[in-house]
Symmetry: C2
Subunit: 640 residues, 2 copies
């Protein structure tokens, strides 16, 4: 045997007694998410690792509840067939979110702890900064959580901190290089860049790569001509072209607009291209290569300047050597979870890591299930899951789970605005079939979007306690009419995996149905054509309009050889269109493309549709007022 267990959770039933008390007690929860999380005693994580078939030397424990998994497991299991690959996405949400994470966890709890299938959830690591701003974790909620949720929501195993360090090393290297080039002659730069150490002068490996890129096939530092020395030592960065920002994992609006050296602001760490690379890399070597390809600016002659040109690729890989290993945790019902990478869903692709999915697919084996979540609604996260993540990973999805709520559909049907922190208007707490029916236009369009890629769609109607039977039934009926493979009500938030059993069974059936996955576009198409295809086919736009900056970038990136990268749209998630006020399934609009940027290392171009905030702020009463540590027990209180 390859070390893959046929059943992951032999002891789940015994260990989760505390939990069971809660699930059976009530559907209207009176406990907060952190109270529920802390009311259960997680299995030791080495036991979870053993249950999923990992060998002890493949597991690096980080305390009792978290572990990193060595990438070597991929090689050990290379001949193992992959399991079924399920992606969870949603209709266009309200600002409150409609429960994709909760559904992801609920589904794996149902499949794993109840139906006894081999199963893995693969989720994104949340940004720590917002944890101290506004309440709302990313670990799921209610009786569907990744536990311990405070570990999940805080440092985890330090991956995001490693990204901060790596990102800011690049930023410092850019400014330092400009500074030193400004103040030194070619010869002085060369003497410092290629110093004589104990009488020996030689190029480092990364310098040899730069020479090769420049077409200089020499390895003796004394053999370079003056012109070659000049080309080698001068990156000649055009300060106006720098696209690399510094980052911090803190909500800090005052870092949005400052001038440091040649860059103009701080972003939040998870928006770094380093994060997007982590999420898309399929191994150490691939990660290093992507780091080296990251373009940080252009030279004054218009040549892309890369991290490799700065000499920093190896150091980035060293900083990220542990972050590249997926983090093993578990759900409230003891099923295994990989938490790994959390790129933005607008300026990046918003999906957890390729590596976690690949390892999980091997671990669950042919008949098992890996449930992975795509950020935002299906028009964004799912489209990027297919066109970017699956394109790079080579993985092919079997089922799309589309999460819908009565609340969001009422909003799409013309209900009043839904705002965080403000009580819901009565339209949302009383039966209103008309609003639901009208709002199903969004559901229909998102089902079509999924089907466009040739994958069967199961609609999960995430039930709230104020939803009526008739409302829920209406959504199920609409979903089926719109072409869903199946549509089911779910009550996993209040009931745990038990509440997602119907969903789990529907997913099992759907995974046996024919799937004919195809990409929406060929990457070799011109940039504008790829953007237009997404806008028209997925969003329902009549056409796109490129503003002058975007037109310039199309020309620049095409000239620089990046025209054949996939497209990663940076668009609001609150509408299928560019206008968050346009609910339902708008048509006939022209999608404006304000600008286009490139994450060449991660491997995509990202057109900006409107403005994107890459640094949140803190409200008047940040939720840190409620957060405390019990100095005796060490318990975290008040976090969500």
């Amino acid at each position: 045997s390859l070390g893959v267990c046929s059943l992951f959770h032999p002891e789940a039933g015994n260990l989760w007694g505390v939990f069971d008390l809660h699930t059976h007690s009530s559907c209207s929860l009176s406990l907060s998410d952190i109270e529920i999380s802390q009311s259960c005693i997680p299995k030791p994580i080495d036991q979870v690792a053993k249950e999923v078939g990992l060998f002890p030397d493949e597991v690096e424990l980080y305390g009792q509840t978290k572990a990193k998994i060595q990438l070597s497991v991929l090689k050990r299991l290379q001949n193992q067939p992959d399991g079924k690959y399920v992606v969870v996405t949603g209709i266009t949400p309200t600002p409150l979110g409609e429960g994709k994470s909760t559904t992801t966890v609920g589904l794996v709890q149902a499949l794993g702890a109840h139906l006894r299938q081999n199963v893995f959830a693969c989720v994104r690591q949340p940004s720590q900064g917002p944890t101290f701003g506004i309440k709302g974790g990313a670990a799921g909620g209610g009786y569907c959580q990744v536990v311990p949720m405070e570990e999940f929501n805080l440092h985890l195993t330090g991956d995001i901190h490693a990204i901060t360090a790596a990102n800011n090393l690049v930023a410092a290297a850019i400014d330092a290089r400009i500074f030193h080039e400004l103040t030194q002659s070619d010869q002085a730069l060369y003497n410092r860049l290629v110093p004589s150490v104990n009488g020996v002068r030689k190029f480092s490996d990364i310098q040899i790569r730069r020479l090769q890129k420049l077409g200089i096939n020499k390895t003796d530092p004394m053999a370079l001509t003056k012109e070659e020395v000049n080309a080698f030592v001068r990156l000649d960065i055009d300060p106006g072209t720098i696209t690399w920002q510094r980052v911090l994992d803190t909500n800090d609006r005052f870092l949005r607009k400052i001038t440091i050296g040649q860059s103009a602001q701080f972003d939040i760490t998870v928006s770094s291209e380093i994060m997007a690379v982590l999420a898309l890399a399929d191994g150490l070597d691939d990660m290093k290569k992507r780091f080296g390809r990251m373009v940080v600016a252009s030279s004054k002659k218009g040549i892309p300047v890369t991290a490799d040109d700065l000499g920093v690729t190896g150091a980035l890989a060293v900083l990220m050597k542990d972050a590249v290993k997926p983090n093993l945790m578990q759900t409230l019902e003891g099923t295994p979870v990989f938490v790994h990478a959390g790129p933005f869903a607008n300026i990046a692709h918003g999906n957890s890591s390729v590596l976690a999915d690949k390892i999980a697919l091997k671990l669950v084996g042919k008949d098992g299930f890996v449930v992975t979540e795509a950020g935002f609604g299906a028009d964004i996260g799912m489209e990027k899951f297919f066109n970017i993540k699956c394109r790079y990973s080579g993985l092919r999805p079997h089922v799309v789970v589309l999460v819908a709520t009565v609340r969001a559909l009422k909003m799409h049907g013309g209900g009043p605005a839904v705002t965080a922190g403000v009580p819901l208007p009565k339209e949302y707490t009383e039966e209103n079939l008309q609003l639901v029916a009208k709002g199903c236009s969004n559901l229909t369009k998102q089902i079509q979007n999924a089907r466009m890629f040739g994958v069967p769609v199961v609609v999960a109607v995430n039930a709230f306690k104020t939803d009526t039977k008739a409302e829920l039934a209406l959504v199920v009926q609409h979903a089926k009419e719109a072409g869903a493979f199946d549509a089911v009500e779910c009550t996993h938030w209040a009931e745990g995996g038990k509440g997602a059993l119907a969903l789990a069974r529907a997913v099992q059936r759907a995974s046996q149905a024919p799937s004919n996955f195809k990409f929406l576009y060929n990457v070799e198409l011109p940039v504008v054509d790829k953007i237009r295809l997404i806008a028209q086919q997925v969003y329902g736009a009549r056409d796109i309009e490129l503003l002058p900056e975007a037109q310039e970038k199309v020309a620049l990136y095409t000239k620089q050889g990046f025209g054949n990268l996939p497209i990663c749209m940076a668009k609001t998630h609150l509408s299928l269109s560019h206008d968050p006020e346009q609910k339902g399934a708008p048509t006939g609009f022209v999608l404006p493309i304000r600008d286009i940027r490139a994450s060449v290392g991660a491997g995509f171009l990202y057109p900006l549709v409107g403005t994107m905030s890459t640094m949140p702020g803190l409200p008047t009463r940040p939720c840190f007022y409620d957060i405390d540590l019990d100095p005796v027990s060490g318990a975290v209180n008040g976090l969500f």
Copy 2:
């Protein structure tokens, strides 16, 4: 038994065969530090933990080579007598450093692996930022290293990253608070700070503390008068008084002078007061209280504004809940090491954590040795070790080990400048007894400095291969004449613990000698008197001179009630005086005090003698050019 082993390293002899090959081969090393580090296979860290008497549930593994130790061990061992407490310090060093870390490791290797004593080294965690700038690790060197050195020098277990997050949360909270106070009425602020949640309005615990500080003994939010609401909601921070900076653990000179919100620069993370608190806290509760007391600014009325006023204390404790646990690692010869906290040695006290020392002293037991290192020379790190760290910890040292080198003494004797990256002038590589003899003035003064505190001093003459027998003998003779308990030559860098056996035996004898530890000053003395005492007694100054800013701060801090804090001098480590060019043991100078700042949470005032850089830059050829990760083996190459 309390679970303390009488002998820590029963298997050291067996496991370190690889290492033995190297120690016996040669005194002139041809391997780099990282090559030596990687040539040995460390014991699994859980085995080290078991050997030192830790119980499995007190150990949180972080992979195979690092572990965090739960603070609960202190309670379990509270009745265990402490071991002998040894502090390693040095004479005034050259810019290259004279081997304090190497001697710390060499001494514990000699005591532990060779003399079979229970022993622990307690060392600081180095800043990661400089690792990518200029070569030179902090893990020791040669055959005296903490291993694996790449783990030691990089993220370790994320403590410094946690400090970055905590520090920057405070900074964001300051600017956010000023922003929201500027834009909202008292009532709007109050409604947001004490919101009605499901119809219930109540103060959080931290808000109750603020009310109490304001003398408002009410708990019902509706009962406050308008004046009380005003006092409660308005911190009324005077932007000109903000002393809190943002931090990053990256060498980035461009962050030195920027304007963000109301603060004016970024510092490197290890300079944060959060780090100083971590190093001085003696438990969770104490750490929380110190966080709460941290003063970030004054109000427009001159009242100190604290982290507690900002409402952020609990969140800081939560962010630091794992960082507060010491990190267990090991030396090349398998003896245990705690790596914990690394505050600056100028603007902070430059010593590793009180908690690590306390736990280690219990673990080694009555006859064991804990060797801890103080930053910079004895005039700075040791003085602060005694007057600040020992004052707060209540621990009393038994032996001072003072590291001296022929190289540094020659410099003090009038030798030419020693500069990093430039070959040493011949004065340093050829015998020159006259320079050594003249330079011993510095050694004499530093021995006197240690003896002033009533603790026996053992001088460790850290031998380099170019030192002659006569030179080394001269230093030993001078040290003994100057009042050292003993003085011995050491060759541990080239030979490992074996090379520090004479030192170990001298330390054993000294630890049995009478010790009559006393502080240099009473904290109740006026601020100026305390500064003058240090300047005159320790540095040899004739007097001090307070510049106007410093005079104002003396008045301010005394008025604010912080006048009775200990003093933490921020002075160059390259001279006993304020002028790095003045070598030997200068006298008669007047020490200028440019300004004074307060780390009220950590618990000291820090007078600035000259300017201190709190953010390093990157050189033209940062050492990241040499750093690489082998994508197949995962090995780190080229780091030192």
